[in-house]
Protein backbone atom coordinates (compact mmCIF):
# COMPACT_ATOMS: atom_id res chain seq x y z
CA UNK A 1 0.00 0.00 0.00
CA UNK A 2 1.25 3.41 -0.87
CA UNK A 3 0.59 4.86 2.57
CA UNK A 4 2.99 2.47 4.28
CA UNK A 5 6.02 4.12 5.83
CA UNK A 6 8.49 1.41 5.02
CA UNK A 7 11.36 3.60 3.91
CA UNK A 8 13.91 1.64 5.94
CA UNK A 9 13.10 -1.64 4.20
CA UNK A 10 15.17 -3.04 1.36
CA UNK A 11 13.62 -4.71 -1.70
CA UNK A 12 12.33 -8.25 -1.33
CA UNK A 13 15.00 -9.69 -3.66
CA UNK A 14 17.69 -9.38 -0.96
CA UNK A 15 15.87 -11.67 1.45
CA UNK A 16 17.21 -14.92 -0.02
CA UNK A 17 20.84 -13.82 0.17
CA UNK A 18 20.07 -12.62 3.70
CA UNK A 19 18.86 -16.06 4.77
CA UNK A 20 21.89 -17.74 3.20
CA UNK A 21 24.36 -15.43 4.98
CA UNK A 22 22.44 -15.60 8.27
CA UNK A 23 22.26 -19.42 8.38
CA UNK A 24 25.85 -19.90 7.17
CA UNK A 25 27.05 -17.36 9.73
CA UNK A 26 25.17 -18.99 12.59
CA UNK A 27 26.39 -22.49 11.69
CA UNK A 28 30.03 -21.43 11.37
CA UNK A 29 29.69 -19.35 14.53
CA UNK A 30 28.48 -22.39 16.46
CA UNK A 31 31.34 -24.48 15.05
CA UNK A 32 33.81 -21.77 16.10
CA UNK A 33 32.23 -21.66 19.57
CA UNK A 34 32.44 -25.45 19.99
CA UNK A 35 36.10 -25.27 18.96
CA UNK A 36 36.68 -22.66 21.69
CA UNK A 37 37.48 -19.93 19.13
CA UNK A 38 40.86 -21.57 18.48
CA UNK A 39 41.46 -20.75 14.85
CA UNK A 40 44.65 -19.33 13.42
CA UNK A 41 43.90 -19.27 9.71
CA UNK A 42 43.39 -16.01 7.81
CA UNK A 43 45.93 -14.04 9.84
CA UNK A 44 45.75 -10.53 8.51
CA UNK A 45 47.18 -7.17 9.53
CA UNK A 46 44.36 -5.03 10.87
CA UNK A 47 43.97 -1.57 12.32
CA UNK A 48 43.23 -1.64 16.02
CA UNK A 49 41.78 1.58 17.46
CA UNK A 50 42.75 0.60 20.97
CA UNK A 51 44.79 -2.38 21.97
CA UNK A 52 45.29 -3.55 25.51
CA UNK A 53 48.45 -5.29 26.51
CA UNK A 54 47.94 -8.82 25.31
CA UNK A 55 49.23 -12.20 26.30
CA UNK A 56 51.18 -12.32 23.06
CA UNK A 57 53.58 -9.55 24.05
CA UNK A 58 51.92 -6.64 22.30
CA UNK A 59 52.28 -3.28 23.98
CA UNK A 60 49.09 -1.34 24.69
CA UNK A 61 48.28 1.67 22.56
CA UNK A 62 46.00 3.53 20.18
CA UNK A 63 45.79 3.06 16.40
CA UNK A 64 48.19 0.21 15.98
CA UNK A 65 48.49 -2.24 13.15
CA UNK A 66 48.30 -5.71 14.66
CA UNK A 67 48.06 -9.26 13.34
CA UNK A 68 44.80 -11.02 13.99
CA UNK A 69 42.84 -13.97 12.67
CA UNK A 70 39.80 -12.39 11.03
CA UNK A 71 37.72 -15.60 10.97
CA UNK A 72 35.61 -14.58 13.95
CA UNK A 73 35.17 -11.04 12.61
CA UNK A 74 33.98 -12.37 9.25
CA UNK A 75 31.54 -14.76 10.92
CA UNK A 76 30.14 -12.03 13.19
CA UNK A 77 29.66 -9.66 10.24
CA UNK A 78 28.02 -12.43 8.20
CA UNK A 79 25.50 -13.11 10.97
CA UNK A 80 24.70 -9.42 11.50
CA UNK A 81 24.48 -8.43 7.84
CA UNK A 82 22.54 -11.59 6.97
CA UNK A 83 20.20 -11.02 9.93
CA UNK A 84 19.60 -7.39 8.98
CA UNK A 85 18.77 -8.45 5.41
CA UNK A 86 16.34 -11.11 6.65
CA UNK A 87 14.63 -8.79 9.11
CA UNK A 88 14.62 -5.58 7.10
CA UNK A 89 13.72 -6.56 3.56
CA UNK A 90 10.16 -6.24 2.33
CA UNK A 91 7.86 -9.24 2.33
CA UNK A 92 6.45 -10.45 -0.97
CA UNK A 93 3.29 -8.57 -0.10
CA UNK A 94 4.19 -5.79 2.29
CA UNK A 95 1.24 -4.15 4.03
CA UNK A 96 0.20 -2.47 7.27
CA UNK A 97 -0.42 -5.74 9.12
CA UNK A 98 3.00 -7.16 8.22
CA UNK A 99 4.49 -3.82 9.30
CA UNK A 100 2.70 -4.20 12.63
CA UNK A 101 4.01 -7.75 13.05
CA UNK A 102 7.55 -6.51 12.37
CA UNK A 103 7.45 -3.68 14.91
CA UNK A 104 5.70 -5.89 17.49
CA UNK A 105 8.43 -8.50 16.99
CA UNK A 106 11.15 -5.88 17.49
CA UNK A 107 9.65 -4.77 20.79
CA UNK A 108 9.17 -8.37 21.89
CA UNK A 109 12.75 -9.27 20.94
CA UNK A 110 14.22 -6.36 22.90
CA UNK A 111 12.19 -7.16 26.01
CA UNK A 112 12.87 -10.89 25.80
CA UNK A 113 16.58 -10.25 25.28
CA UNK A 114 16.71 -7.99 28.35
CA UNK A 115 14.84 -10.62 30.36
CA UNK A 116 17.31 -13.35 29.36
CA UNK A 117 20.21 -10.97 30.02
CA UNK A 118 18.95 -10.20 33.53
CA UNK A 119 18.71 -13.92 34.27
CA UNK A 120 22.23 -14.57 33.00
CA UNK A 121 23.66 -11.60 34.94
CA UNK A 122 22.11 -13.06 38.08
CA UNK A 123 22.95 -16.70 37.53
CA UNK A 124 26.01 -16.93 35.27
CA UNK A 125 29.44 -15.98 36.58
CA UNK A 126 33.11 -15.75 35.75
CA UNK A 127 34.40 -16.84 32.39
CA UNK A 128 31.12 -18.43 31.35
CA UNK A 129 29.57 -14.98 31.38
CA UNK A 130 31.93 -13.99 28.58
CA UNK A 131 30.18 -16.59 26.39
CA UNK A 132 26.87 -14.97 27.33
CA UNK A 133 28.19 -11.58 26.23
CA UNK A 134 29.35 -13.02 22.91
CA UNK A 135 25.95 -14.64 22.30
CA UNK A 136 24.29 -11.42 23.33
CA UNK A 137 25.82 -9.62 20.37
CA UNK A 138 23.47 -11.60 18.14
CA UNK A 139 20.47 -12.61 20.23
CA UNK A 140 18.37 -9.44 19.74
CA UNK A 141 18.49 -9.96 15.98
CA UNK A 142 17.97 -13.71 16.28
CA UNK A 143 14.99 -13.36 18.65
CA UNK A 144 13.48 -10.72 16.35
CA UNK A 145 13.75 -12.92 13.27
CA UNK A 146 12.35 -15.98 15.05
CA UNK A 147 9.45 -14.00 16.52
CA UNK A 148 8.59 -12.22 13.26
CA UNK A 149 8.55 -15.43 11.25
CA UNK A 150 6.61 -17.25 13.95
CA UNK A 151 3.91 -14.52 13.97
CA UNK A 152 3.75 -14.53 10.16
CA UNK A 153 3.41 -18.29 10.10
CA UNK A 154 0.79 -18.26 12.84
CA UNK A 155 -1.42 -15.71 11.11
CA UNK A 156 -1.14 -17.54 7.80
CA UNK A 157 -2.43 -20.88 9.02
CA UNK A 158 -5.59 -22.64 7.88
CA UNK A 159 -8.39 -20.77 6.24
CA UNK A 160 -12.02 -21.33 7.38
Amino acid sequence: MSIMRTNYLLPHKYKTIGWILFVLGLISGIILFIGDYEIDILQVKVLSIFNEESLFGEKPGFFKIIKNSIVDELIALTIIIGGLLVGFTKEKVEDEFIYRLRTDSLVWALLFNCFVLILTILFVYNFTFLHVMIFNMFTPLVFFIIRFNFLKFKSDSHEE
Binding site: M1, I3, E91, K92, V93, E94, D95, E96, F97, I98, R100, L101, K152, S155, D156, E159
Partner: protein
Protein backbone atom coordinates in the same frame (compact mmCIF):
# COMPACT_ATOMS: atom_id res chain seq x y z
CA UNK B 1 -14.25 -3.95 16.24
CA UNK B 2 -16.24 -6.74 14.64
CA UNK B 3 -16.71 -7.32 10.94
CA UNK B 4 -18.61 -9.42 8.44
CA UNK B 5 -15.90 -9.92 5.86
CA UNK B 6 -16.32 -13.68 6.04
CA UNK B 7 -20.01 -13.37 5.16
CA UNK B 8 -19.24 -10.99 2.32
CA UNK B 9 -16.59 -13.37 1.04
CA UNK B 10 -19.09 -16.21 1.09
CA UNK B 11 -21.60 -14.10 -0.86
CA UNK B 12 -18.95 -13.38 -3.50
CA UNK B 13 -17.63 -16.96 -3.26
CA UNK B 14 -14.07 -15.81 -2.58
CA UNK B 15 -11.24 -17.27 -0.53
CA UNK B 16 -9.12 -15.13 1.80
CA UNK B 17 -6.35 -15.33 -0.79
CA UNK B 18 -8.68 -14.07 -3.55
CA UNK B 19 -9.77 -11.10 -1.48
CA UNK B 20 -6.21 -10.32 -0.37
CA UNK B 21 -5.09 -10.25 -3.98
CA UNK B 22 -7.98 -7.99 -5.06
CA UNK B 23 -7.33 -5.52 -2.25
CA UNK B 24 -3.55 -5.74 -2.61
CA UNK B 25 -2.69 -6.92 0.89
CA UNK B 26 -1.24 -10.14 2.30
CA UNK B 27 -3.37 -13.19 3.07
CA UNK B 28 -2.28 -12.87 6.69
CA UNK B 29 -3.90 -9.44 6.87
CA UNK B 30 -7.31 -10.62 5.69
CA UNK B 31 -7.09 -13.60 8.05
CA UNK B 32 -6.18 -11.42 11.04
CA UNK B 33 -8.82 -8.79 10.25
CA UNK B 34 -11.53 -11.44 9.83
CA UNK B 35 -10.69 -13.01 13.17
CA UNK B 36 -10.77 -9.50 14.71
CA UNK B 37 -7.15 -9.92 15.78
CA UNK B 38 -6.14 -6.84 13.84
CA UNK B 39 -8.03 -3.59 13.40
CA UNK B 40 -7.31 -2.31 9.90
CA UNK B 41 -6.43 1.31 9.19
CA UNK B 42 -9.23 3.55 7.97
CA UNK B 43 -7.73 3.38 4.48
CA UNK B 44 -7.78 -0.40 4.39
CA UNK B 45 -11.29 -0.61 5.87
CA UNK B 46 -12.52 1.80 3.18
CA UNK B 47 -10.80 -0.21 0.46
CA UNK B 48 -12.46 -3.43 1.64
CA UNK B 49 -15.85 -1.71 1.81
CA UNK B 50 -15.36 -0.24 -1.65
CA UNK B 51 -14.52 -3.63 -3.05
CA UNK B 52 -17.79 -5.12 -1.72
CA UNK B 53 -19.62 -1.95 -2.87
CA UNK B 54 -21.10 -1.34 0.56
CA UNK B 55 -20.75 1.44 3.10
CA UNK B 56 -17.97 0.76 5.57
CA UNK B 57 -20.47 0.67 8.48
CA UNK B 58 -22.22 -2.35 7.02
CA UNK B 59 -18.98 -4.35 7.08
CA UNK B 60 -17.24 -3.07 10.22
CA UNK B 61 -19.02 -2.49 13.55
CA UNK B 62 -17.98 -1.23 16.94
CA UNK B 63 -18.48 -3.63 19.81
CA UNK B 64 -20.69 -2.70 22.76
CA UNK B 65 -17.71 -1.81 24.94
CA UNK B 66 -16.05 0.44 22.36
Amino acid sequence: MKNRIKVERAIHDMTQADLAEKIGVSRQSINAIEKAKYVPSAVLALKIARFFEKPVESIFFLEESE
